[in-house]
């Protein structure tokens, strides 16, 4: 199994009382609460944590894109990937992902990802996402066209990477008289593409299609949902006529390792609960703007509104598998069980979450790397199959 350190880079020093008062850390929370000096200090701290992951033996690190929020300070994960390209030498760098439909000209993403891939001589893992609902408010992109734009931008980027130009691309949303990207990606035919998702049949059908076989990454969901969606991927692959590899499946989950189960929960509690109940909190109008997803999915979320939008304490979160927390032995055994049950080949461990401070994050990383990660990496992988990964 491959093990990655995934970071959201939250603005951890935010005034949480203000977040609670506004009801969300997204879009409506004024950036007067942001202090430039604190921002610079947090960037340095977080990049240092990711850099140190290489020495600790992680297979890679992951960054992602969010806009106008204290939840994550990476409106451009590509900027962070560029910094990490210089700070690291062996690890994979995962951009999980870039939000394709939010770009006016997604061809710029083909360029920027190719640059990172070249800078790192092929250490880039590319991720494509639609961007979360709140971000459609940020950029004024019509959410009812989100899926169309995603598919069209995907086709444009992959063609820009795999076909030599200049050629013309004429879609409904994106039109380019000349597609002729310099640089082309370092990895051939292109960097591995991962699809992070909160889970939907449409996304699974797309990722698992035999022409693509993209790695599907289930993010921040209860274990039961992770199991369901990974099973759906395997079932869909079988319908398509092939067996999905574990390396095509991944799980992103907050992890905290303490000295004992009790101390782990005590240390992680306020920071996880801040992550879940403050940083991630947003009203349904922001999570699911009109037409952002199928009406069936909208109805399921609206029906589950009470449980989804209420506060959650760390114990039920651990119980549900929305977080893995405990001593190294507990976390290792739990992850091995989950892995045996769910069959995922990639673990994206969110080792810093919410307000988790530097000292606890470092300790978490050290205990995870020493007492959990070796057992996971020793599981090995089934052959990489048809996908070419440099």
């Amino acid at each position: 199994m491959k093990v990655f350190f995934f970071h959201l880079m939250p603005y951890a020093d935010v005034d949480l009382d203000e977040v609670r008062k506004v009801g969300t850390s997204w879009v409506k929370l004024s950036n007067r609460l942001y202090d430039p000096e604190t921002g610079a200090m947090l960037y340095e701290r977080y990049l240092g944590q990711l850099e140190r992951a290489e020495a600790l033996g992680f297979d890679g690190v992951g960054v992602n894109e969010h806009h106008q929020t204290a939840y994550g300070m990476m409106p451009s994960p590509i900027v962070m990937a560029a910094s990490l390209a210089q700070r690291t030498h062996r690890m994979k760098i995962c951009i999980l992902g870039s939000a394709l439909p939010l770009r006016q000209h997604p061809l710029t993403l083909a360029e920027e990802h190719a640059m990172i891939d070249t800078l790192t001589r092929g250490r880039l893992i590319t991720g494509f996402v639609r961007g979360i609902g709140a971000e459609y408010h940020v950029f004024g992109v019509d959410p009812t066209t989100s899926r169309e734009r995603f598919h069209e931008a995907h086709d444009l980027i992959v063609r820009a990477w795999t076909e030599t130009g200049p050629f013309e691309f004429s879609g409904k949303h994106y039109k380019h008289r000349y597609v002729n990207t310099w640089p082309r990606p370092y990895q051939q035919p292109h960097p591995p593409i991962w699809i992070p998702s909160q889970g939907s049949q449409e996304t699974i059908d797309f990722a698992s299609h035999p022409d693509r076989r993209y790695t599907y990454l289930q993010t921040f969901s209860p274990a039961a949902a992770v199991r369901k969606y990974l099973d759906l991927y395997r079932a869909r692959a079988q319908e398509y006529g092939y067996m999905a590899l574990d390396s095509q499946l991944g799980w992103a989950v907050p992890v905290y390792v303490g000295e004992t189960d009790e101390s782990a929960i005590a240390e992680a509690r306020p920071h996880f609960e801040n992550f879940r109940n403050c940083f991630a909190r947003m009203p349904i109008e922001f999570l699911l703007p009109p037409g952002y997803t199928s009406r069936g999915s909208m109805k399921r979320v609206a029906a589950a509104k009470k449980s989804m939008f209420g506060d959650l304490a760390i114990e039920p979160a651990i119980e549900m598998g929305m977080m893995v927390c405990g001593s190294a032995a507990t976390v290792r055994d739990r992850l091995l069980e989950y892995r045996a049950e769910m069959g995922f080949g990639n673990l994206m461990a969110l080792l810093q979450f919410g307000t988790l401070p530097a000292g606890l994050t470092d300790a978490n990383m050290d205990r995870f790397a020493a007492g959990v990660m070796p057992a996971l990496q020793a599981l090995g992988e089934r052959p990489a199959g048809q996908r070419r990964v440099a």
């Binding site: 004024g140 992109v141 009812t144 349904i284 703007p289 009109p290 009406r295 109805k299 509104k305």
Partner: protein, 260 residues
């Protein structure tokens, strides 16, 4: 009092649901973003003097969601086809909010079949410096509170919302179609002001003085762009003028169409 009949019309493959009733000159009423399926008291009042035709826009309520439904211009052209299909002329066109915006988009394209235009707090025009709300950022309850000046009416409207309204099929369909037309640019067409001078039928603009979704200052700004347009401001009234002051809306339409 004549009742309204629910029926459908199919225009070039797109079926729309409509309420129709009364007799007199034809009056086409175009509903706002909340949808048009319900038979409201102001409609019965209008049917006393008009052949009232109140369709649900393509994409809304019981109407189809056609492939061509991409923007406000598509809806305007649809309604020009719709008027031709029903072979109507001398039509008094009235629209509220989103419907007022569509009415302007129709009228800048052709007034050949129109006798007059009444715009009730129409969306569609961005006036720098004037306050607007963002219904896309509001819950159904917040929309009700912003829609009315009289908060007792807002409370009554909230009480009448369907259970789990955010999971309601019609709510989801209407919100999605509203977003398709009005998400970006938010509730306006930046090109529309360039062509409002083309409207050559008598035009009356009616606005609730206390509208917090589109502030009443918009009325004079829009009137200045439409030749000869007059303004009626209704005191102590919010954006849901057709419910809060149905009498004022009906008398404004009545007076305006008699003058026209």
């Amino acid at each position: 009092m004549p009742g309204l009949t629910r029926s459908t019309e199919t225009v070039r493959g797109c079926t729309v649901s409509l309420l129709r009733g009364g007799s007199g000159p034809p009056l086409l009423f175009l509903h706002g973003a909340g949808g048009g399926g319900a038979e409201l008291p102001f409609m019965a009042r209008l049917a006393e003097r008009f052949d009232l035709i109140a369709p649900e826009h393509p994409g809304f309520g019981g109407s189809d969601e056609p492939d061509w439904f991409d923007n406000i211009h598509d809806v305007a052209y649809f309604y020009l086809d719709f008027l031709k299909h029903l072979d109507l002329s001398g039509v008094h066109l009235a629209g509220l909010s989103l419907g007022g915006w569509i009415a302007m988009e129709i009228a800048v394209r052709s007034t050949a079949r129109l006798a007059s235009l009444t715009l009730a707090c129409p969306a569609g025009i961005h006036v720098p410096g004037l306050a607007t709300g963002d219904p896309f950022a509001w819950s159904p309850e917040e929309i009700c509170r912003h829609g009315f000046h009289d908060q007792a009416l807002a409370a009554a409207a909230i009480a009448e919302l369907p259970e789990a309204v955010e999971a309601d099929d019609t709510w989801l369909k209407n919100r999605s179609s509203f977003a398709r037309l009005a998400w970006e640019p938010r509730m306006h067409d930046p090109h529309l002001p360039k062509w409002l001078h083309r409207i050559d039928v008598p035009t009356r603009i009616v606005w609730g003085a206390d509208d917090t979704i589109l502030s009443a200052g918009h009325a004079e700004a829009i009137a200045a762009m439409i030749p000869g347009a007059g303004v009626t401001v209704v005191p102590d009234t919010g954006h849901f003028l057709h419910i809060e002051r149905a009498d004022a809306l009906v008398s404004a339409i009545d007076a305006h169409t008699r003058d026209s």
